[in-house]
């Protein structure tokens, strides 16, 4: 990536462009426009289009908001990676958008991805927990009773 970036920068200088003359490429999410999670975690990934020219020192800014107009958004990632893993999310709809950032320049925002967090119902979880406890107790019972019977 560094070599590619360096070559791209050299070509730009050679051609007489400055970094200000080129618009930063907008990243695009690799996730579906609407994602749903029942467990409170999800991986968000993004990429640049194949013909986009990567800029030196370009970073990605990922914003999250609880409304689609991004009023009072939070920057949840700023860096060079092409993905981030979110976990521990509470129930609700979380809107995400990402853009490229290089010094004082910004690309357009990507299309929005909404992550709908709908945890499994607590009733289902506790039912499975109880079932698991019962199966485990039977398993222990089979082993202990078996050992006693053999010893006897």
């Amino acid at each position: 990536m560094n070599l590619r970036t360096t070559i791209a920068s050299c070509l730009m200088v050679f051609c007489g462009y400055t970094s200000h003359a080129i618009n930063l490429a907008s990243p695009v999410f690799e996730n579906a426009v609407e994602e749903q999670t029942n467990s409170g975690y999800i991986k968000l990934g993004w990429s640049l289009s194949a013909d986009a020219v990567p800029m030196a020192n370009a970073q990605f800014e990922l914003q999250q908001a609880d409304n689609k107009d991004f009023i009072n958004p939070k920057v949840i990632y700023l860096g060079e990676d092409y993905a981030t893993f979110l976990s521990g999310l509470p129930d609700g709809d979380l809107y995400h958008r990402v853009r490229s950032v290089s010094e004082n320049e910004f690309s357009d925002w990507s299309p929005t991805v909404v992550v709908k967090v709908r945890h499994h119902s607590l009733e289902l979880a506790l039912t499975l927990f109880g079932l698991g406890a019962l199966v485990f107790a039977f398993t222990v019972g089979i082993v202990i009773q078996g050992v006693r019977r053999v010893n006897a």
Partner: protein
């Protein structure tokens, strides 16, 4: 470091390989393994990449219950301890878990069991090959493909030369390195982070990870526990050790190994929870363990972590290669294809199978499919469905072949439906539940009256 560790393990494999003169020596280390080596090999094998890398992934995805859920896999070792004694008593000359199913339940159940066991062994191998690549990439920047190839190559070579002697011998050294390394890493992590800051970050950014009523994590607790029991109860990795240990050793060795293993996933998982407070971006959840350890501990720490992770991977890959090749050679080649095969032929076949498994694992690992959890837990319902055919088969005369067969088939199928419909954290639980109902129903309604003497093949043949 990678080359140095690789050379050490291969040389040790060649050294121990000199002891493996017979097939009993190569496959079962002469059936003479004592308490220290027995405990160490059980503990080191269970501290797999799945402990050092999946436990942090569990913590990152499922929070505090995630770590606890992972540590419940220790019950697999605790409950297998009395089984190991029973296995040794019933089958003093047995070779594989497949032998048990064949003698106890007949051919149909045996074939289904072999399918499950070999598939599971293979997914475990894949998850560890992938873990090797991910680990080297995260800690040393070595490309995934090269790291994955290197660790598979080293493990294939020393297992090839030394068989179970080399596996158990290297496991002993690896278990010592793992335990010392985890203590060093644990102390360094506690020393270098601000616990209050970690808690505040989790409370504001990832609140559900601290929530004791996080539904997915509540579901995961018994799911993982039953998956762990299923893994240990059915897998030839553990049966071969039960056969290899001296009489009277197995029960104590497995119990001790369980106690040594129990705190490891909690220690390994905890560091994943510090990622947010340290501002480290996690791009893939299965990378969180090595990535955090490397970041927190710096360059010197990264070297220690690298050695610990390498040992934890190698100690399990070698065991799996040896145990899966035993299952294929003993149960498929010897019992189905070439009965009466000479020891020399079987030894050569073992070598081919070990190399073949290594190559096949390498091919599947190359595209890096899914995360470690999704790859491994796909086999969850399959192994969980074998718990009751094995447990009741060892202790109940009434456990029947039909019950065992239908328990494995229906437990696997319904568990897989749960895997796709509800999530990987429910599949083993559902598979185990179906399996226990079917096994017990058949044992009560259409009971068998099994003669235990049939289990000792050497006596039965005489």
């Amino acid at each position: 470091m990678l080359i140095l560790l690789g050379i050490i393990w291969v040389l040790l494999g060649i050294y121990w390989g000199r002891k493996a003169k017979s097939m009993d020596g190569f496959m079962l280390a002469g059936r003479n393994v004592g308490l220290a080596f027995g405990t160490a090999t059980a503990m080191a094998t269970w501290v797999t990449s799945n402990t050092t890398m999946l436990a942090p992934q569990f913590a990152l995805q499922l929070g505090i219950w995630g770590m606890v859920a992972y540590s419940t896999a220790a019950f697999g070792l605790f409950l297998f301890a009395p089984l190991a004694r029973r296995i040794k008593d019933l089958m003093p000359k047995g070779y594989t878990s497949g032998d048990f199913i064949r003698l106890r339940y007949g051919k149909a159940a045996w074939l289904v069991f072999l399918g499950i066991s070999i598939f599971y062994g293979f997914t475990w191998l894949i998850s560890m090959g992938m873990a090797g690549g991910i680990l080297m990439n995260a800690l040393a920047g070595i490309p995934y493909e090269i790291g994955m190839t290197a660790i598979l190559l080293v493990c294939v070579l020393y297992t090839l030369f030394g068989g179970l002697y080399a596996v158990i011998g290297t496991d002993f050294i690896q278990s010592l390195i793992i335990m010392i390394g985890i203590v060093v890493v644990g102390v360094a992590v506690i020393w270098s982070i601000d616990l209050e800051q970690v808690y505040t970050n989790l409370r504001t950014e990832k609140p559900m990870l601290l929530n004791v009523l996080l539904p997915a994590s509540i579901m995961a607790i018994f799911n993982n526990l039953l998956f762990g029991i299923g893994e240990v109860f059915h897998s030839n990795v553990w049966w071969s050790r039960a056969f290899a240990m001296r009489k009277g050793i197995g029960q104590r060795a497995y119990t001790l190994a369980g106690f040594f293993w129990l705190p490891v996933p909690i220690a390994a998982g905890f560091i994943a929870l510090t990622s947010g407070s340290l501002g480290i971006n996690i791009t893939s959840p299965d990378m969180v363990g090595p990535l955090m350890a490397g970041n927190i501990l710096g360059k010197a720490g990264a070297v220690i972590v690298f050695i610990v992770f390498f040992c934890s991977l190698a100690s399990s890959i070698d065991s799996l290669l040896a145990a899966t090749s035993d299952l294929i050679v003993e149960d498929i080649l010897k019992k189905m294809i070439k009965p009466g095969a000479s020891e020399k032929w079987m030894r050569r076949a073992s070598a081919f199978v070990i190399v073949g498994l290594g190559i096949l694992t390498w091919v599947v690992c190359l595209p890096r499919i899914g995360t470690l959890a999704t790859v491994l837990f796909f086999a969850g319902p399959m192994v969980a469905s074998t718990i009751y055919p094995i447990a009741t088969g060892l202790f109940w005369k009434s456990a029947s072949a039909k019950g065992a067969l239908w328990a494995m088939v229906s437990g696997t199928l319904i568990g897989l439906i749960a895997y796709f419909q509800m999530g990987w954290y429910t599949a083993s639980l559902i598979g185990a539940t179906v399996s226990i109902i079917v096994t017990v129903t058949f044992a009560k309604l259409a009971p068998d009256n099994f003669d235990w003497k049939k289990m000792d093949e050497s006596v039965a043949q005489t």
